[in-house]
Structure formats: C-alpha cells, structure tokens
C-alpha cells in the first residue's frame, strides 16, 4: 500500500487556483463568451461547474431545491477505493482508486480517511477472497490480507468470529461538504449558482439547443435563459430533463435504504467480503454508524417512502458485520435514488456503476449532454469528462486542471457570498 498522501493545503491559494489557463488568447476570449447551463446541483453538477469555470467558460448552475438535496447529500457517505466493484466492474473500480488519491489531495477536509476492512464470515467468503484480492490488484487498489487477530487490532468493532479480513483504502465522505468545496471554488472563479430554480423547458432551433426556460420559485416567475450548451446532470431525474428536449435517455432510478444508529461502533468502513448485496457495508461518520443499502427500481424518483421492512433487515445484516449494532439506538432511516446508466429487466445490481456522458447531437439536440451513473467518489472525474466533451464540441483547446487544484474550504461557500443571487 502506498504511503499517506501529502497533506493538502486547507485553502487554495487564489492565484494558483484561478490563474488563467495556459492557452491561446483567442480560445480564452472565446471561452468567456460561451454560456453553459448545468441542470442539477448535486455532486456531479458541482464538479462540472468547477471544471468548466476553471477552463474559463461562463457557467450557470440551476437546482430546483437546495444544493445536494437529491441523491448526493443522502448517499451512504462511503469514499470507495473501488474494491466493492473490482470483481466484474473493473473500469469503475480503477476510476474510484484514482479519484481517492486525487480527492485526498484536493479535498482532504471532507474525508475521514480511516481505511476499510472487507471481512470474510463463512466458507464461501473465504473461497471468494483470492479472486477479490486479484481483482483489486488488477484495478490498482492496494490490498492486504489480515488475520482476524490483526484485523481486530485495527478495528475492534468488527465481528470477532470473522475468518480473516482484507484492508483497502476506503473512507468516509461528508456528502454535503465535499460538493460544497467544488461549488465554493467555482463561485470564487466567477460561476453563478441559482437554487430553488427548476428547469421546465429546453429550447432548441435547427437541431441545436439555444437555452432554457426556468421557474424561479423565489420570485414565482418563469424566465428564458440563453445557453450555448446545456448539461443534464440531474441524477435520477435526468430522464425527465432529457425529455424536455424530446430526447429519450436510458436510465434506471434505483432507490436504496440506509439506517443510521447512534454511536461510532466501528472506526473503519466495514464491508462483507462477498459479491455486492443488501446491507453489506457499514460506514462510520462522526458519532454515527450507517448500514446500507438495499436496491429496487422506480419510475419516479420523487418522495420515495422508506420501507419499514428494509430498516429491520438492514439492522439484522449489520449485526453480522459489527455485533454492537444489536444494542444500538436508532437514529434515522432514509432512501437515496441511484441514477444507474442503462435499463434492465432484472434487479439492477448487474448494471455497471460506471458513468456515461452522452452527447445528444444525433437525437436532434446538439449542445445537450447528459451524464448518468457513477459514484459520489468519482464526481471530479465526471466533471472532467463532461468538460472535455464540451470543449471538443465548442472547439476549445483548453485542458482540465482540477486534479491539481486544491479546493476552497466548504465554509468559503458562505463566506464568499457576493454572486449567489446574481441573475444571468
């Protein structure tokens, strides 16, 4: 396993973070005249906003509610090394590991980097271990097998009857504050963020998008906003947003339940060493322990009621990994809806967790891009991939630099407020 990443500075030096990109003057001037509208204020939208703003484009983000109020804020909070997906979903596993390394450098303050243990509970798990370790290594994920005795020294909260464990660089994300770091940095660079502002129409002419119609719930007014590029980063709602442009988008909204109990019953992320299933990850965060998740499919991702049966089942499963769950005090149960790429007749676990950026030029909507799938851990990479496609579409030769740019602290989002309500 690699050594600790060097400590990232807590605050980006403004000059370094927002220096003009080293490109030709013509591209730089032209970038400022290109207006990109981003639909969705979750982690993906935040990362896209940051990346394109840093490349010099003029960007506005629209979110129908509060920032990160859809899927992003509600996710389990796991910083994925990729180990969970290494067997069978190599691309996303490799991407996760690369992004863990980058996020520790640019956003260390939003990560509890305490590593994770995959624990084997029975013969099947023991048999699975070699394939798991091999897949991790092939995806570039550092992994080390520990005897139960050694694993318990690292994590006294894990089931002491485990057969053995494999340690990987998992961690815990603050699901709200990590995107806020991207948003704070983007706004400091000149981006505009409009919350409580729902996109109700996508305008186009001659097969190319020309702007948006939005309803600003603060004022109650509808507005037309001109845009050269529209990016659909609405997560599980991306299908509805694409439909505004008359475009069909293959996406499967897949809710999952999580349950938090009081007390930090383990300090590392504890997972079941077997193929991904229900209730097989416990993520500690602050003074809580969170078990997740379940998975089913819906058509409408709004106002999903958390199934009470899920709660009891997850608590049962959690006890197998961390026995102290048995006496723990209930804190909260909630549901988040994954925006899985593609469609399926099965349960959804077979769909790749990788992300896709889809250009809709062939659907008669040039300039419209949708992003689906992905994990919170890879938000920066999603932002970079979308920004690369936008630059290709607009013929701008400007490279991304977000991997090397420490983000502003989350509190700077509120301390640098001057642009928050600025109209386009």
């Amino acid at each position: 396993m690699g050594r600790d990443a060097p400590a990232a500075p807590r605050m980006a030096a403004p000059a370094a973070a927002h220096a003009a990109p080293a490109v030709g003057d013509a591209d730089r001037r032209r970038a400022r005249d290109i207006h990109v509208a981003i639909v969705g204020g979750g982690g993906t939208g935040a990362a896209i906003l940051h990346d394109l703003t840093q490349r010099g484009l003029r960007c506005t983000l629209f979110e129908r509610g509060e920032l990160t109020s859809g899927t992003t804020g509600r996710h389990h909070g796991q910083l994925h090394s990729g180990a969970r997906y290494a067997v069978g979903d190599t691309d996303i596993a490799r991407e996760c590991m690369e992004e863990v390394t980058i996020l520790r450098r640019i956003a260390a303050e939003s990560i509890e980097m305490n590593y994770g243990l995959f624990i084997a509970l029975d013969d099947d798990d023991v048999d699975y271990t070699a394939a798991f370790e091999r897949a991790c290594s092939e995806s570039g994920i550092p992994n080390r097998r520990l005897s139960t005795t050694d694993a318990l020294r690292h994590e006294p909260g894990m089931n002491p009857n485990a057969r053995h464990a494999v340690m990987v660089p998992d961690g815990t994300i603050d699901a709200y504050r990590l995107p806020l770091q991207f948003l704070a940095t983007a706004r400091a660079g000149g981006a505009t963020i409009r919350t409580f502002c729902e996109v109700t129409g996508i305008d186009s002419s001659d097969g190319r998008v020309s702007g948006l119609t939005v309803r600003d719930y603060r004022s109650g007014r509808d507005e037309r906003i001109a845009a050269d590029v529209v990016i659909n980063a609405a997560g599980p709602w991306a299908g509805s947003v694409a439909a505004l442009a008359g475009v069909g988008l293959p996406i499967t909204p897949a809710p999952g339940t999580m349950v938090a109990v009081k007390g930090r019953l383990c300090n590392m992320v504890v997972s079941h060493l077997h193929p991904p299933g229900d209730g097989d990850i416990i993520v500690p965060q602050r003074n809580l322990s969170i078990v997740g998740s379940t998975q089913w499919k819906v058509d409408d991702p709004d106002a999903i009621r958390t199934p009470p049966d899920d709660i009891l089942r997850l608590l049962d499963r959690a006890r197998e990994l961390v026995p102290a769950f048995a006496g723990a005090e209930f804190h909260a149960a909630w549901t988040a809806v994954r925006p899985l790429s593609g469609r399926t007749d099965a349960g959804g676990r077979e769909l790749s967790r990788n992300f896709q950026v889809i250009a809709h030029a062939s659907d008669g909507a040039a300039g419209l891009f949708s992003v689906t799938g992905g994990k919170a851990t890879v938000l920066r990479a999603m932002g970079e991939a979308v920004a690369d496609d936008v630059c290709r579409f607009t013929s701008l030769a400007i490279a991304g630099r977000t991997a090397d740019t420490p983000l502003l602290a989350h509190r700077e989002f509120f301390r640098r407020q001057e642009r928050v309500h600025e109209p386009v």
Binding site: E66, S69, G77, H154, Y176, L288, H331, A332
Partner: protein
C-alpha cells in the same frame, strides 16, 4: 413529535396518524396540509411528500436526511429541531416556521450565510478520532498515520436560533469553532483569543445556556465559551501589574 433519540419501536406497522402540517409561507400566511405518517415518518419526509404531491413551489432546505449536513433546521411547534431526525408521532397540528433569526429565502428556507460570518479563518473541519483512546499499541494502519473524523458541529444554526442575546455577538456556533480550533492548534491560541476578546466575542455571552441544551449534536457551545473566557481572563492576569 419526538426526537430521534427515542428508541425505535421494536415492531413496525403501527397505525398511521394523519398529521395536520401548518407551514409558514413567504407572505406570512400558513398553508395547511394533511400527511399520513407512519412510525418512521419525519417532518422532512412530510415536507418531501407535500412538495411532490401538493405544492411544487414549497421551499425548504435539506440534504443528508440523517442529521449530518445541518441544512434542515426548522421551528416545529416552537421547538428548534432538525426536520430530518424528528419523527411525527401525533395527530396534533404541527406548526412549522423558518429558523429565526436567519434571513428567509422563501417559506421554510433560510440563508445560512450569517452563521459563517464570524467563524475562525482557516479552521480545520477534521479532528482526531477517539477510536480506542486508551490503546497503548499502534492501532492505525501505517498508511493512515492517525485516525480522524469530522467535527461534531454540523453548522445547523440551532444554537444561534435559541440564543437570547440581541446585541452584536459572534454567537455560540462561531465561538464553539474557536474553542475547537484552539484545542486542536494550541499554537494559534494567542491569535484566536485576540479575535474574540471583544464586546461581541465571549463577553457578549449572557450564559443563558440555551445553546448547549438545544444542540442536536452535543457540541455544548456554552462550555466552549466558558473555557475561552477563562483563557482570556488568565492571559489578562498574566499581563496585569
């Protein structure tokens, strides 16, 4: 209404209550909605359902749904709570109001900007984990170096909302952050104490202790303020003739 620190009932499927939710709107009126609440239904679940089913224009803040982000503070029948971890357990009418004194964006959504105005600059949001605090053998993987965790304070503003001080005052959340930063960084003590040794700093506190009683995360801001005041008094004593 009950706080989430009540035990989860052992069995599920208890009869639902039909709750009357009365929400303060931007124009000062109240909108009244009925919501069927099961045994795990929280105030935030009810708001989500109202917005989806009845009124798409309803404004409120939320993100994590488990008391970690700090965005969903509201006043529920006069009590400051996190909407996401407060369950609806009665069919008594439930009045919801925005978290005063923060500026209202619309309906129940407030602007959290004033909360952050007086936080210490460059303060870390990470702290050492208290995992196995008494262990004598090295427990962290060598790659980790040391275990860390996030600060307990989720910056929800409830402590500021219950504070009775109306004079200019940095407030309990910011002063608690000063207290935590000085605990973690003793080398910053002189610099940070100088910033809060002022009428609107620790001297502004009337010791009502409402903040410590209301904090949903057990941060106890009043205790931090008392400690900071003692430190400032001690430094003054050192310099007096």
């Amino acid at each position: 209404m009950s706080r989430s620190d009540d035990r989860a009932p052992a069995a599920h499927g208890a009869p639902e209550v039909r709750a009357e939710i009365r929400i303060r709107r931007t124009d000062g009126s109240r909108s009244v909605f009925s919501v069927d609440a099961g045994e795990y239904t929280t105030i935030l679940d009810a708001l989500e359902e109202i917005r989806t089913v009845h009124d798409r224009s309803l404004l409120y803040r939320h993100s994590c749904h488990h008391g970690s982000c700090g965005t969903c503070g509201v006043i529920a029948n006069g009590e400051r709570v996190l909407a996401c971890t407060t369950r609806i357990t009665s069919d008594e009418p439930l009045d919801l109001d925005p978290l005063a004194p923060f500026p209202v964006i619309g309906d129940l959504a407030v602007d959290a900007t004033p909360l952050y105005a007086d936080f210490p600059t460059d303060a870390s949001y990470l702290r050492d984990s208290d995992a196995r605090p008494n262990a004598t053998d090295p427990v962290a993987p060598e790659e980790v170096g040391r275990f860390t965790r996030f600060e307990n304070c989720i910056e929800c503003g409830i402590c500021v909302s219950v504070c009775p001080v109306v004079r200019p005052f940095k407030g309990p959340a910011a002063l608690a952050a000063y207290g935590r930063e000085i605990e973690k960084r003793p080398d910053r003590e002189a610099e940070l104490l100088a910033e809060i040794d002022a009428p609107d700093g620790v001297a502004g506190c009337d010791r009502a202790l409402n903040c410590s009683a209301a904090c949903p995360l057990g941060v106890y801001p009043a205790k931090h303020i008392a400690v900071l005041k003692r430190k400032i008094d001690a430094r003054r004593a050192d310099y007096s003739p």
